[in-house]
């Protein structure tokens, strides 16, 4: 099997894998970085979102051979201590439930905010519609994105 050199979270890592192995499984199994999640394997749910040269991509749809010449950022690389503004906003808005989809949600939100520091609700709908949450955390997720942007949070529900 061929060997590839990946740049993951600023570190160069050599991995041996079949050329068509999705980046997702290289991250999770070859590199032991399990923060990036497997949800569907078809690019439908967004649980596996990572940044490739800063853009959010489904890592289940990127063969390792295609990732070799790009910068890969995963949830582990966003900030180890949870201090990225999106992560802080997630905690403040009490977004997570089971938490399984949230790595992907956070990576999508971080990419959105990097390109659009003050997204509208329509921007959020468009950017986040590829990320499924079966716990239904969408309302708080939206509020957290507004909070991370430093904007007035949308209504959070409740009293």
């Amino acid at each position: 099997m061929p060997t590839y050199t990946l740049t993951v979270n600023g570190r160069r890592r050599a991995v041996t894998a079949a050329a068509d192995t999705p980046l997702l499984w290289v991250l999770r199994e070859s590199l032991g970085m399990t923060g990036t999640k497997f949800g569907c394997g078809g690019g439908f749910c967004g649980a596996c979102m990572v940044h490739l040269d800063g853009a959010a991509v489904h890592s289940c749809q990127v063969p390792v051979a295609d990732a070799a010449h790009h910068r890969v950022t995963t949830i582990e690389g966003l900030s180890e201590a949870g201090t990225h503004p999106v992560q802080r906003a997630w905690i403040e808005e009490d977004v997570v439930q089971c938490g399984y989809c949230q790595s992907g949600q956070i990576m999508s939100a971080a990419a959105l905010l990097a390109g659009k520091p003050h997204p509208s609700d329509a921007d959020i709908d468009a950017a986040m519609n590829g990320n499924i949450c079966r716990c239904g955390t969408y309302q708080r997720l939206r509020a957290a994105i507004h909070r991370a942007a430093g904007d007035a949070p949308a209504a959070r529900g409740g009293q």
């Binding site: 497997f38 966003l78 089971c98 938490g99 716990c135 009293q159």
Partner: protein, 721 residues
């Protein structure tokens, strides 16, 4: 820690062990039977919770239940903190093993389901905290030779009022361990609560926003292989032959072995195992249902529904009263099979060695996991360790055992630790589905339009007959008609019956179980009565609940009125929109929802706003309750708008999130949750928000379009003129 079972069984509270590092408390409460009666004298007392206070003052709560998003890793520490007088944010939690000590006293099983954890642990966890606090206070009183009554416990510290002397809990643990365990600790009255009822942020957020949280799929065991299983696409079929040469030739594939559910390809990693499975050739005996389809099942149920079923409820003259009524309404309501589709696909890791089994599982049912793993591996239960990981969603799916059976069997077969991973397609096509249900309803109205008769016959499969056969008696499965048989409205003649049919599609517990369909049928058909009698749907429900003898009626009415008021029922909705409402009791809680809908340009329904009022008794954490209502509404809305599992040629047609579509961000309505104040005992929170949403939306669509939705999911063509 010593086994708690070695302690005197009649002790209500016992110190179960004195670890060198501090005070360990176990709370013993008698396990209640399902009928609520106490156990017979002399029956075993099951300890079921543990609190540790270490010498450095760290408080650890050991939790024997599963965190699947519902927030128990926050709620249970809050219960302990309230009585122990510590800041709940400082409490650590530890996942407990599969052990009798962690049986939920609500039903005597170590399982997380039925919205039961806080209900079951509401008292034991507080008693554990209170007992620890009293022992720490007694230790301080002895140390300072002062009366206990002069001491105050707060913020992890005991303070002597007049002298101002202070001692941290950590410094008192050794002495506290030697104190007598209080047998009759009074719990704080609600008026003194400082933690319960507080809007407290989750304690498990940080690992979940940094990718460090460990779910089942994230488990790594030295030497572990990954298995993907080829299962017969038709339920009940089996492999008769397989040809594995090509599969074994895939780099990374180590073994191809039979497993109880098919043929397992075992490899170094998931991708190799998946490619190995693609290269595998299996000959299936597809069994008796290979030609089955959803249409054929429906056609049989139409016939079956013409005969009487097993009576679930009979009041007054029952169906006979229909003939005497001035007017009769008839309707058929059809709900589909539904998959759970948790975000984390099914998986389980097992390591079977000579004489022992270790299992790492995102599971809702540790108690049975342990029994089955022991049986399969041929070892005593005492040689089985179950490690509960975080669950990437549960919704009832992870109460099943299929993933555990496969992991243990395959690990045993290949002699290595094995993680079984379901692809998303495996997960959707090999589920235990929310039962499809065919419902035939009739109502009789008197001359004034009041309902005087209500009949409801349903045809579906039984969950209990397979899952809990010991609870399936006389052909009755209460889960099939819960929420229908106990219709709370004041109607003098009622007949509810059920016909069981088993077309071979496996069915299981799905968030809110029977109420996931009965609430839709009951609340929709009641709306039909309101429309037929030209009565406002809120007014009809108020009248029928006001006159009801059901003990649930006042709380249903309270939730209904709260939701209606906050939704502005009776005022004009925004242009192009209409409102609908529904109210339902499940898992000891009472939830009313008002949905505000419109039709999009392409004729598809758009849900803009949902107002939810929940009476779930005394509460632990409003932030969690609001989150769970939002969550349950999204889960129910996903099903109402998009959810259907259909069968063709004996197979599930749907494959992945492209054709089994959950709600997404752009479809998310604004949800407003109001918690009805209550002094009643706590009700469930994880599930009761789901049942009312489908009928609230369908009733709103009727108000908007005049079209009654009688089959789910909602199809735009059913809303056309």
């Amino acid at each position: 820690m010593n086994a708690p079972g070695t302690m005197a069984r009649r002790d209500f509270l016992s110190v179960v062990a004195f670890a060198g590092s501090g005070l360990v408390l176990g709370v013993h409460v008698p396990t209640r039977r399902r009928d609520g009666a106490p156990d017979a004298p002399g029956a075993e007392f099951a300890p079921n919770a543990f609190v540790r206070v270490a010498t450095d003052g760290t408080v650890t709560v050991v939790i024997g239940y599963s965190e699947m998003g519902q927030g128990i890793l926050t709620a249970l520490p809050m219960l302990v903190a309230e009585e122990l007088e510590v800041d709940p944010a400082t409490i650590r939690f530890e996942q407990g093993p599969a052990a009798d000590e962690y049986k939920n006293p609500l039903f005597g099983l170590q399982a997380t389901g039925g919205s039961s954890t806080v209900r079951g642990m509401w008292e034991p966890m507080r008693r554990a905290g209170a007992a620890a606090r009293e022992m720490l206070l007694a230790a301080a009183a002895a140390r300072w030779s002062v009366p206990r009554s002069d001491l105050v416990a707060a913020n992890g510290t005991v303070t002597h009022g007049s002298s101002g002397r202070r001692a941290s809990y950590g410094s008192l643990t050794q002495a506290a361990s030697k104190q007598t365990v209080p047998t009759d600790v009074a719990l704080k009255p609600a008026s003194a609560w400082k933690v319960l009822g507080r809007r407290m942020k989750r304690l498990d957020s940080l690992p979940k926003v940094t990718g460090r949280a460990q779910f089942g799929l994230d488990v790594r065991v030295p030497g572990m292989l990954v298995a993907v299983v080829a299962r017969c696409p038709v339920f009940g079929g089996r492999a008769t032959h397989f040809e594995a040469t090509a599969a074994r030739a895939v780099p990374g594939v180590r073994h191809v072995v039979e497993s109880p559910s098919g043929v397992a390809v075992v490899a170094d990693g998931y991708w190799a195992a998946l490619k190995g499975r693609e290269a595998l050739s299996v000959t299936w005996d597809e069994g008796a249902t290979a030609a089955q389809s959803s249409d054929a099942i429906r056609a049989r149920w139409v016939q079956l529904a013409q005969q009487p079923g097993i009576t679930a409820r009979h009041e007054g003259q029952g169906a006979d009263a229909l003939a005497a009524a001035a007017r009769r309404l008839d309707a058929v309501y059809e709900a589909p099979y539904l998959a759970h589709a948790t975000m984390e696909p099914m998986n389980c890791t097992a390591r079977v060695t000579a004489g022992a089994v270790e299992v790492w599982a995102p599971t809702q049912f540790q108690g049975v996991n342990k029994q089955l793993a022991a049986q399969i591996a041929g070892v005593p239960e005492s040689a089985v360790q179950i490690h509960t990981t975080l669950l990437g969603g549960g919704f009832g799916r992870r109460a099943e055992q299929d993933f555990l059976v496969e992991a243990v069997s395959i690990s045993k077969a290949v002699g290595a630790p094995v993680k079984v991973v379901y692809s998303r397609e495996d997960d959707i096509q090999h589920d235990f589905y929310r039962p499809a249900v065919y419902n035939v309803l009739a109502a009789g109205l008197d001359a004034a339009g009041n309902p005087v008769a209500w009949t409801h016959r349903s045809v579906s499969s039984s969950i209990l007959a397979r899952f809990f056969p010991q609870m399936f008696h006389d052909g009755k499965d209460e889960n099939a008609y819960e929420g229908a048989a106990d219709i709370p409205y004041a109607i003098p003649n009622i007949h509810v019956d059920w016909i069981r049919d088993e077309p071979g599609v496996p069915v299981g517990f799905w968030r809110s179980v029977g109420s996931s369909h009965t609430a839709w049928v009951k609340e929709s058909f009641l709306d039909e009565i309101a429309a037929a009698s030209h009565t406002d749907p809120l007014e009809l429900r108020r009248r029928l609940l006001g006159a009801s003898h059901s003990p649930s009626a006042p709380r249903l009415l309270g939730a209904l009125n709260a939701a209606a008021e906050r939704a502005g029922w009776g005022t004009a909705p925004p242009a192009g929109r209409a409102r609908g409402l529904a109210v339902h009791e499940s898992f000891g809680s009472f939830v009313a929802e008002v949905a505000e809908v419109s039709l999009g340009g392409d004729g598809t329904p758009v849900v803009h706003r949902v107002v939810c009022a929940v009476d779930c008794g005394q509460i632990v954490n409003p932030l969690t309750i609001e989150a769970q209502m939002q969550s349950a509404i999204v889960y129910g809305l996903s099903a109402a708008l998009h959810g259907a599992i259909t069968i063709d040629k004996g197979r599930v047609v749907q494959t992945n999130f492209n054709d089994y579509a959950p709600l997404r961000m752009a479809e998310m309505p604004r949800v407003e949750v109001f918690i009805v104040p209550s002094t009643e005992g706590p009700g469930g929170v994880g599930e009761p928000g789901t049942p009312p949403i489908a009928p609230a939306v369908c009733n709103a669509l009727f108000a908007l379009t005049g079209k009654r939705v009688r089959r789910l999911p909602i199809r735009p063509e059913d809303l056309q003129g």
